[in-house]
């Protein structure tokens, strides 16, 4: 099983690829709504990508109130 840091790093890389931004532009504690200029539906789109990658399933409500990559990584890590 990957470590929490590895999961976070993979999420940042996948998010950068999904939204076509340089990887170095994204930091773990960034507010992704602001950094990426996305709305909550685009976040859900990203989550689907992440679920497929990590082979986990998260209900929508797990994302309620989540706005930074580190917290998101924690939610995914908890289900690995």
């Amino acid at each position: 099983m990957p470590t929490a840091e590895q999961t976070l790093d993979e999420i940042l890389s996948l998010a950068a690829a999904h939204f076509k931004v340089p990887r170095e532009k994204l930091r773990p504690d960034d507010d992704f709504f602001k950094t990426l200029g996305i709305d909550s539906l685009q976040t859900l789109d990203l989550l689907t990508k992440l679920e497929n990658h990590f082979r986990v399933e998260l209900p929508d409500y797990e994302l309620q109130g989540v706005s930074d990559f580190r917290t998101l990584a924690g939610k995914i890590q908890a289900r690995l």
């Binding site: 709305d39 539906l41 685009q42 859900l44 689907t48 209900p59 929508d60 409500y61 109130g65 706005s67």
Partner: protein, 569 residues
């Protein structure tokens, strides 16, 4: 459909619908690609009655209030029907609020019963305010066996054998208390009667009828006035089918259109824009020659549907686009927030009409709707049957505050006579929205008189409701405004919240203060966050009791500070 004029309450109309449309499918619930529930009207009745009987046994009487706190799902509607059957008053609560906010509204409503989904009830149990809860009976859906429910009961086990007595209500009796805002201290609970709902349903279905075989995709929260009407009452009294999705992931929403051959769906602008983005990306991937053909077909469709929608023609000309939507969509219904005309036009040109409307919780659901005769992307349509609208104190351009009179307008705000008197004057509901009518009787909106924003997700956000998160901010004083309230721009859109800050003498706006504001802002859900700030040179005007005079401060800011000076957060 049922003749709603003959009914005195929602419970009676729904009860007759169960009998009349018995074998028709009324409800489908799916989670991602997995279908979890499929009920006919007879099944729905069979599941609801033991719950109604158990509520009856628990001394839930006529006029008692029962709150529902759930995402869109079958148990929402089943519980609502059981509550109406017992003569109860429904209090739909917003599942996207924080647990503390939900508890605050629950207390204000004095609900005797709460029906809550397990994850939401868990959050409430962990909330510091939980110890003050006064609700007598709590029913929790989907709780695992043996889960700690703090005195609550599993919804699935809360059933009694036997036939409950149907409790008839009169048209003037209260059907629902719906909160339009007020988590910041002054809850605005709109008290809506059975007449309000029956008349709203009659008006809407006169223009956009449902019938057995129609499938409505329920995506907007059912606690929202629009989905409650077009995703429950409307389809049910017409024998149609409601499809619930337990996820809002765009890819599963798109799948649901096709899987269930959806006829109607109500959407907020954010979702419509998401669909538009997806379609445009697909169009861009087409090879040049295919794209050229598509453009020609769109142009031809546009010409042939100039006067009115012609779905068969559009489906023939643009089969790929329509297949992606399941092939049977008649319209996308939008409302509750400003929609870009270009987005509506994009879909209409593809043969998928977007029906735009205007309304507010205080007025039931909708006051105006586009009748598509012809399609107009630049207005919010015409007043629905039975709705009177007028423009108060119009300026030289004919723009003024919209006032409404209709059988759909709420009775009052719960326990707030003062606010009711300010809002309903001589029988007219003052909407706080600015607009004018064009020569064809269409309403055009030009902004708001009130200090609030409506997000693209259809959420009404009042600055007073979010200011508490900044309590104790190390500055002399602060106040949050809707930017368009301070700097009116005579149109909707570009809505954001702005914080006006007054620093202490000799205090500097440094990175520590900025960090503090940003950190607190992030405690709010993304759609409630403040978008920018301005620093004020003068102390805020205050009343004798030291309350900030918001209107005076907004006027002063509007005159002395340029909107361009707002610094983004």
């Amino acid at each position: 459909m049922l003749d709603l004029q003959k009914y005195s309450c929602l419970g009676a109309a729904l009860r007759d619908a169960m009998e009349r449309f018995g074998g028709e499918t009324c409800l489908i619930e799916a989670d991602r690609e997995r279908e979890k529930t499929r009920l006919t009207y007879s099944d729905f009745k069979e599941i609801s009655m033991p719950l109604a009987r158990a509520l009856e046994d628990a001394d839930f009487d006529a006029g008692d209030r029962a709150a529902i706190l759930m995402t869109n799902q079958s148990k929402w509607l089943i519980s609502a029907y059981a509550i109406f059957y017992c003569g109860g008053v429904l209090v739909p609560l917003d599942y996207k609020l924080t647990a503390g906010e939900q508890l605050q509204l629950l207390e204000h409503s004095k609900a005797k019963v709460l029906v809550a989904e397990h994850y939401l009830w868990r959050a409430i149990m962990q909330s510091p305010e939980f110890q003050n809860i006064k609700t007598k009976l709590v029913l929790v859906t989907e709780a695992p066996l043996g889960a700690e429910l703090a005195g609550g009961f599993r919804w699935e086990d809360f059933r009694r054998k036997g036939t409950p007595d149907f409790v008839m209500r009169q048209r003037e009796d209260v059907a629902c208390v719906v909160y339009s805002s007020g988590t910041g201290g002054r809850p605005k609970g709109c008290v809506l009667t059975h007449e309000n709902y029956l008349e709203q349903c009659r008006a809407l279905t006169a223009w956009y009828p449902f019938w057995p075989g129609v499938r409505y995709l329920s995506i907007l929260p059912t606690n929202h006035a629009i989905d409650f009407m077009v995703g429950f009452i409307g389809p049910f009294v017409c024998g149609a089918c409601v499809v619930h999705l337990r996820t809002l992931r765009p890819e599963f929403v798109r799948d649901a259109f096709v899987r269930y051959r959806i006829t109607y769906v109500a959407l907020v602008p954010m979702i419509v824009k998401n669909l538009e983005r997806g379609l445009r990306a697909k169009f861009d991937e087409l090879p040049g020659w295919k794209r050229a053909i598509l453009n020609r077909m769109i142009a031809l469709n546009k010409m042939l549907t100039r006067r009115k929608p012609r779905v068969k023609v559009s489906r023939t000309l643009l089969p790929g686009v329509h297949r992606a939507f399941g092939g049977e969509v008649l319209a996308l219904i939008t409302g509750g927030a400003f929609m870009e005309p270009s987005t509506m036009q994009f879909f209409y040109d593809l043969g998928i009409p977007v029906v735009n409307g205007y309304g507010l919780t205080e007025a039931g659901t909708a006051l105006t709707l586009n009748d598509l005769k012809p399609f107009r992307a630049d207005t919010v349509g015409k007043p629905l049957p039975g709705v009177e609208l007028r423009v108060l104190s119009p300026n030289e351009e004919g723009i003024g505050e919209i006032a409404a009179r209709s059988k759909t307008v709420m009775s009052h705000y719960l326990d707030d006579a003062e606010l009711t008197l300010e809002t309903i004057v001589d029988g007219w509901l003052l909407t706080g929205d600015l607009g004018r009518f064009d020569k064809n009787g269409h309403l055009q909106l030009f902004g708001r008189k009130k200090n609030m924003i409506v997000t693209e997700g259809g959420k009404n956000i009042y600055p007073e409701d979010i200011e508490t998160v900044f309590d104790g901010l190390p500055v002399k004083e602060y106040c949050v405004f809707a930017a368009n309230y301070v700097w009116p721009q005579k149109k909707l859109g570009r809505e954001m919240l702005v914080m006006a800050l007054r620093l202490e003498q000799n205090q500097r706006f440094d990175s520590a203060l900025l960090g503090e504001i940003v950190a607190r802002n992030r405690r709010l859900p993304d759609f409630k966050r403040v978008g920018g700030y301005v620093i004020c040179e003068k102390d805020f005007p205050r009343t004798a009791s030291m309350k900030i005079k918001r209107q005076a401060l907004a006027e002063e800011l509007g005159k002395t500070v340029n909107r361009a000076a707002v610094v983004g957060l």
